[in-house]
């Protein structure tokens, strides 16, 4: 392998279609799996709505495994351009080579393309997904002079957190109205206990205490906190405790500090933690 090819393999523009071979652990919360499958069968794109850390990414991994289709995830950020999604020309060995971006790649292999936190992307990038997201199901690649038609197995999915307060981060109607929405929220107490146990191996007594704390931070949402502790944060804290970190320290690091910078709020969460543990 010569130098230029190795540079090529290192570029993020050539995503590996990730075929998930082992069943990811996912606890269904309601009928979201059936809904997703029905949307796929009807070739309608899917919008996962919900706060961070409530299982959206895990859900995508699970359905990708179940449908046996490659999953291509793009974490959106504010420098993400249309070219980053679609693709571009590169030069190797004095030759120009077209390299698909993740979206084009997913279309080509008939996989699932998951745009995580889509509002973070530049506004104009959402426009390239429009022709893919209605019944045309096409991706025009102007540069390459190509019009990709999505095979039936292609699925477009994206996630969106409606709780954001920034007025600059709202999803445009013209975009959102193309999608079937699946709402995610924190799982019920019993389910959440089961998830945290499965993910961390922590004992039931400590998990019950963690859930109590989570419940209390969720009470604080809108009273100084933008979000309560998500399932993800509970899993983090549980893993730390399982490894022998003192509960108060684990909850401070994995939960309180993750939720806020406000000194008095940090103190209040620490006081709740120390009251419970």
């Amino acid at each position: 392998m010569d130098a230029s090819t190795s540079t090529r393999t290192a570029t993020p523009l050539q995503p590996e279609a990730r075929l998930i071979t082992h069943e990811p652990y996912y606890e269904p919360v309601a009928d979201e799996i059936a809904l997703f499958e029905a949307a796929c069968d009807s070739r309608i794109p899917v919008l996962l709505k919900g706060p961070t850390g409530c299982g959206k990414t895990r859900f995508m991994e699970y359905v990708a495994w179940k449908l046996k289709r490659p999953l291509i995830t793009v974490s959106c950020h504010d420098d993400l351009t249309a070219n980053d999604l679609v693709g571009r020309y590169l030069i190797t060995n004095n030759e120009t080579v077209w390299v698909d971006g993740p979206l084009a790649h997913a279309v080509r292999v008939g996989g699932i393309c998951y745009l995580d936190e889509v509002v973070e992307a530049r506004k104009d990038t959402t426009v390239v997904i429009h022709p893919l997201a209605d019944d045309r199901r096409m991706l025009p690649i102007e540069k390459h002079g190509e019009l990709l038609r999505a095979p039936d197995s292609f699925v477009l999915a994206m996630s969106y957190n409606p709780g954001y307060q920034s007025v600059l981060k709202e999803l445009k109607q013209s975009t959102r109205q193309r999608f079937v929405a699946i709402e995610f929220n924190y799982p019920s107490e019993t389910l959440e206990a089961k998830i945290v146990a499965a993910e961390s191996g922590l004992d039931a007594a400590n998990i019950a205490k963690l859930l109590k704390l989570a419940h209390m931070t969720r009470n604080l949402k809108g009273n100084g906190l933008d979000e309560g502790a998500s399932t993800r944060l509970l899993v983090h804290a549980a893993k730390l405790i399982k490894r022998g970190v003192a509960a108060r320290v684990a909850c401070h690091g994995a939960i309180a500090e993750a939720l806020t910078d406000d000194a008095e709020m940090l103190r209040a969460i620490d006081e709740l933690t120390s009251s419970i543990f």
Binding site: L90, Y164, L168, L220, A268, L272, S275
Partner: protein, 694 residues
């Protein structure tokens, strides 16, 4: 610096207190007193005379009179606590009570002696959040001489000094707050205590004992919910070595520790005790005030019953609208599962079909279960009753023309589901010019924070974007060159845009601030609003965003008023500063008309994002017509929907603790925020603005 001479002081005090001085009451005796103080305390005195004078001149006078004796006896912290307490009393109870606090400075000197002492003001915010986390229902925190609660507000002592360390004193605060919270959560007042104690020969003694027994019962509940706190409590008890410690473990009290023990068990136990014995002392023992709690509970039950019935009516409508939904004759039912120690788990069904009610409804259900242990059937009758108002549209004749030219706005009548045409007459007025020195002193007061604020906003502005593929630029765009090269090799035209350029991202944004000038903002809220605007203006100057500020108030639909503080195209001038300083509480809050007027003003502004931020302290409200309550909320909501349609994004910053009951409905779940402490408003507003627009 040398102390100021009497004559100089007299001149300053005369200027500061002029409105309450006369030929018989001059500044001379005050000046003579203040002259005895060292320079630092003189400056301290003058500063506070000025600040207090902004709220009330007589209070400022009383302060100046008390300062010469008081200040030498207090350290700075105690002195400020003293002033704050006095102003607090003034705000709530009036001039007499306020000036009384100024005379009783000795109390504060006394409290200043203990180095480990913890003051209410230091812990109020943390504890308020702490109990909010414990939840059940929203509780306010306030201070009072002894600890007690009416189940709506937790009153905590102004200072705790009995502990051996600051940590221990804080812990005692935390235990008191938790116990008072538990009185609501575990139903201390769910029966009529005064009636239940009436058969005792000394009901007052019985009440003191009952308080003690309830503490034992509630501690057992707390131990189950909060084992960590129970452990801290046990440690505190062991170390503090209080007498009577063992009596808590008295076998006679065992029934109180049972999982299902209730207040009736405490009352029953009273009959078996010798009430003449002294009640054991505990640092965290407050008092019970059954009458206040009963009144609060009854008012709450009425309020929540109405709210629940209205919410169920709404839910019912939604269910019917859903195609597969409910039929007219279906009923709501609930099942309450008590075994959950995070609060009762209430399941709501309609015609047997389980519903997932929104958070406010779940909170209502939970709160009612706390008071009653169940949801009585009559609470579940959805209230669909419609009231006829019998009022027609407004016409311009019945609005007095003498008040000058007005603009007319429609108003939304939610019961009749249509607009009342030209219902509100609105006038745009100039507020009286205030003293621009207010701006200076605010900037001085917040000097360190202003620096930080500016830096934060600088960051926002300075977000340099690296613009790629530019025709001209500072650097070569490697990606573009490679792509161009590739294009060229592929026989395509050579693209021209091969450079990168740094560019400040254009913030194509215009923001309008709508400031509540209703009478209810009188006092510290008004001051906080003005300070907030000063800091905000400072920050926005850095950012360069276009902004406008308007105040709103009025009385009845015939006199809605908008006060012009700063137009979009107006620079932040001396005049604007004077108008900010001059913002003063007026009358009521007919919000719909104000929003419609400001939306109309927005029409001429060309910006990609238009933001309308309201600073408010409560619900829409107006004098002597039905604007208060649901009508006003629905009209405001409608006005906001109209604003939305016009491409305006509304957002509300409020200090009303009840905001969650109505703001989500008006503004949507994410478009409002609650600031729980007025004193924080000034700094928070700029902060929220930054978050909102980044």
């Amino acid at each position: 610096m040398p102390p100021l001479a009497t004559a100089a002081l007299e001149k300053r005090l005369d200027a500061l207190l002029n409105p309450v001085l006369s030929s018989r009451r001059t500044a001379a005796p005050l000046a003579a007193g203040v002259a005895t103080l060292p320079r630092a305390l003189q400056d301290f005195t003058l500063h506070w005379v000025e600040v207090i004078g902004r709220t009330n001149y007589e209070m400022a006078y009383q302060f100046a009179a008390a300062a010469p004796e008081a200040l030498p006896a207090l350290d700075t912290q105690a002195a400020e606590a003293w002033i704050i307490q006095a102003m607090d009393s003034y705000d709530r109870e009036g001039l007499y009570q306020g000036s009384l606090v100024f005379k009783q400075y000795a109390d504060f000197a006394q409290r200043g002696l203990n180095a480990h002492g913890v003051q209410f003001n230091e812990v109020a915010t943390v504890l308020e959040r702490f109990v909010c986390g414990l939840a059940g229902r929203r509780l306010n925190i306030d201070s009072a001489e002894t600890a007690w609660t009416d189940t709506e507000t937790l009153y905590l002592p102004p200072r705790i000094t009995v502990g051996a360390s600051r940590d221990e004193n804080f812990l005692i605060y935390k235990i008191i707050a938790t116990l008072l919270w538990a009185q609501g959560r575990y139903g201390t007042f769910n029966i009529d205590l005064n009636a239940a104690l009436a058969h005792h020969s000394e009901p007052a003694r019985a009440l003191v004992w009952l308080n003690y027994l309830e503490v034992i019962r509630l501690e057992a509940n707390i131990a189950r919910l909060l084992p960590g706190l129970a452990r801290d409590l046990a440690a505190l008890r062991g170390e503090s070595g209080e007498s009577g410690e063992s009596s808590d473990h008295d076998a006679r009290y065992a029934p109180l520790r049972a999982v299902d023990a209730g207040v009736r068990d405490s009352i029953a136990l009273l009959d078996t005790l010798d009430l003449q014995q002294a009640v054991p002392r505990r640092a965290w023992l407050g008092t019970l005030r059954p009458a206040s709690a009963k009144a609060a509970r009854e008012a709450r039950l009425t309020r929540e019953k109405d709210a629940l019935q209205a919410a169920l009516a709404q839910l019912f409508k939604e269910q019917i609208q859903n195609a597969d939904g409910a039929e007219e004759n279906q009923n709501f039912e609930v099942r309450v599962n008590h075994d959950d120690n995070l609060g009762a788990d209430v399941e709501l069904t309609l015609g047997g079909k389980p519903l997932a009610p929104p958070k406010p409804v779940r909170e209502l259900l939970d709160s009612i279960v706390q008071d009653l242990g169940e949801i009585p059937d009559e609470y579940l009758l959805a209230n669909t009753a419609q009231e006829a108002t019998g009022e027609g549209d407004g016409d311009e004749q019945d609005i007095a023309p003498a008040d000058g030219p007005a603009v007319y706005y429609d108003e939304w009548d939610f019961q009749r589901r249509h607009y009342r045409k030209n219902w509100c007459a609105l006038r745009e007025l100039e507020p009286p010019a205030g003293d621009a020195a207010f701006v200076e002193s605010t900037l001085k007061k917040y000097a360190p924070q202003v620096t930080q604020l500016k830096r934060n906003f600088e960051l926002l502005r300075g977000e340099d974007r690296l613009m790629k593929r530019q025709q001209h630029g500072d650097d070569i765009d490697l990606d573009a060159v490679i792509a161009a090269y590739a294009d060229m090799r592929a026989g395509r035209e050579l693209p021209q845009r091969l450079f990168t350029k740094r560019h400040k991202a254009e913030r194509n944004l215009a923001v309008m601030f709508m400031v509540d000038m209703s009478g209810s903002t009188k006092g510290w809220i008004n001051e906080a609003e003005r300070e907030a605007l000063v800091l905000l203006a400072e920050a926005l100057q850095v950012l360069g965003d276009r902004y406008a500020i308007y105040g709103f108030s009025g009385m009845t639909r015939k006199r809605c008023e908008i006060f012009h503080i700063k137009r979009f195209d107006e620079p932040y001038s001396e005049r604007v500063r004077q108008r900010i300083a001059g913002i003063a509480p007026q009358d009521y809050t007919r919000m719909g008309a104000a929003i419609r007027h400001l939306s109309a003003l927005f029409e001429t502004v060309d910006a990609r994002t238009k933001l309308l931020i309201t600073l408010s302290d409560g619900k829409p409200d107006d004098y002597s017509d039905n604007y208060r309550g649901e009508y006003g909320i629905e009209d405001t909501r409608q006005a906001l929907i109209e604003a939305h349609r016009a491409g305006i994004k509304p957002f509300c910053i409020t200090i009303d603790h009840e905001a969650r009951d109505y703001l989500p409905h008006m503004y949507g779940a994410a478009n409002w925020t609650l600031i729980d402490n007025v004193l924080r408003l000034p700094l928070k507003v700029a902060d929220i603005y930054r978050r909102l627009t980044s």
